[in-house]
Structures are given as C-alpha cells and as structure tokens.
Amino acid sequence: MNGSKHTVTDPRIDPLIDASLRTVGSATPVPGLEGRILTRLASERVRLEAAPTRFPHLSLGPGRRLPVRALGVLTSCLLAFVIVAGTVSYSHKLHSSQVVAPPSLVLPAQGIGAASAVHPAAPASAPVPAGQGARGRSNHHSGRARIAPHARKAPGVAVPAPSSNNSQN
C-alpha cells in the first residue's frame, strides 16, 4: 500500500468506519434461524438414514462401516499385484518356449581341438564355382575408359584420336 506516507485529516472518517463495521458485525438474522437450521438438519439426517448404503454388505451395523477407502486401496494393490504377476509369468512362459538347444560342436574324426570342429549350423563347405562373368571383388577399374591406340573399331563410328596428354598419363 502506498498510503503509508499520508495521514487522514478528516475526523469523521474513523467513526464512520467503526459504525459501518459494527453494522456488519452485529447483523441480526431473521428470527427463527436456529429452528430452521435444526429442521433442515433433521430432514438431512432422515434422508441420510433412509438412503441405502452404496455398499450394503460393507455395513457392520448402525454407525459402523468398513473403511471403504482402505478397501479400495487394498483392492487396487491386489489388482496391481495380479497384473504384475501375470505379466511376469507370461514373460517366463514365452521365454522358455523360444529357447533352442545350445549349439553343439561336432568333433571331426581327424583334426585336433575346436579349430577343426564344424558348427552344425554352418553351411556346406563345398566350393561354389564362379560364373563366367564373375570376377573378384578386388578387381575393379576406376576412372575414364581407355581405348587402345590400335584397337579395331566398327566402321562408321567416330572415335576421337588419343591425345598426347592421355598417352602421357
């Protein structure tokens, strides 16, 4: 508040504030307030007692009920446990059905140790013959194609003469 530096000079103001606050603070209700409140409370109590319990089997008698909130928490915990246990159980079951027998080494008749062993899943070791157009992967060319100077060309095909620079390269 920025009015701390100012002072009130009008002497009528404080009595007015006091009088106004007193009128608010001493307001009198319409006569019979207590009776109306009690009547409403009585009807509310009758309504509460007449209303069926939401969970009648949880009632232990008048005024004694099981703590529904605690039961709710307990049910939630139980449900969570069932879900987790079911998930874990299913996971174990799935895992056990997918497990294959561990690979076994077949020891050859000749040879020594595991280096000469054959893995059962290994492909047949027979050599595959290479095709006619096949070539080794390491045998490749890069750069511009070169034409031998004395190569025979088909007639009518214009072929640029090899320059001296190319021959030097």
Binding site: L16, I17, A19, R22, V24, S26, A27, P29, L33
Partner: protein, 191 residues
Amino acid sequence: MSCFEGQLAGWVAPAHPTTVSTTQTIAALVAEYSTALYRVAFSVTRNAAEAEDAVQEAFLRVLRHESRLGEIRDYRVWLVRIVWNIVLDKKRRAKTRPEGEDLADHARALPSSDRPADASVISSQEHARILALVDRLPKREREALLLSAVEELTTAEIAAALGTTESSIRSRIFRARRELALLLEKEGIAR
C-alpha cells in the same frame, strides 16, 4: 416446551442411541454459534438469505462429518472456518458482490433499537459506499478487517481461522483501516 425444544426433540427422537450424543452436540452448537456464524457469513455476502444458506450448509457439513466432532478442540474456530470457506467459495463462483447487495439487507443490518447511535452516524448509502471500498482492499487485509468486525471473534480466533498469527492479524487490520480511511478521504465521504 418451546418451539426450539420441540424441534430438538423431534430431531433427536429418530436417531440411534449411538448418535444421540452427537445430535445433542450439534444442536448445542447451533444454539451457541449460529448467530455468530451468520454474522461471519453476512460480512462477506451482505445478503441475509445467502448468509443463512451458508450457515445451514455449514451445519450440514458438520452433520455429515459428525464422527469427527470428538477431535475438534475449538468448535468456534472450526465452525467459523467452515462458514468462511463456504461463503468465499460461493462468492468466487457466483461473483454476486456487490450486485446482490440490497438496501433492505442493510436496513436489517442496522438494528434500530440496539444501536441507535450507529444509525444516526451512518446512513445506508454511506454504509454501502464504505463496504464497496472495503471490497477494493487487498484480500488479506479485507478478510482480517471483516472478521474483526464480528463481535464474537477475538483476534486469536481470527488468527486461528485464517491460519496465521495474532500479530499478523493486528497489522492487517491496521493497514486495512488506514487504507480504507485514505480511500474514503480521497473519494469524499458523502457523495
């Protein structure tokens, strides 16, 4: 048997024996605190019907939580807090102030026989203007000032109801009154 006792007997009769004590306790609370709670509610709503509704709603809440009655140390502060929350909630929702204000309520709030001096000091228009300026005060100061106006509440009870200390309440009331006086002087007392 008075009318009040008759209603009390009618209320107690159908209750189970285990609830008779709480019923009597609530009836005693109604008898002792309903007027004070009405004033607390009226200080915010400034409407007789709304204030009475708030008080009834407060006691309905007490009835619904009657099992907790034994845990309450200070019934007055507890009830004031309930009513206070109800009226603030209603005000927040409805935004009825100050449109819901009517002069008949102010006339009812000005008891002619009890406080003739106040009625002569302040007119209904001045009263309405001052309350309109109270509404412009900051929330904390306004709440402390309005609760301090309720006769039945001490500073300690106001502090307990608002969840703060007595010194804080005192300084809030001081600031509220000073700011209100400045606003009144700035805008002129009578217009």
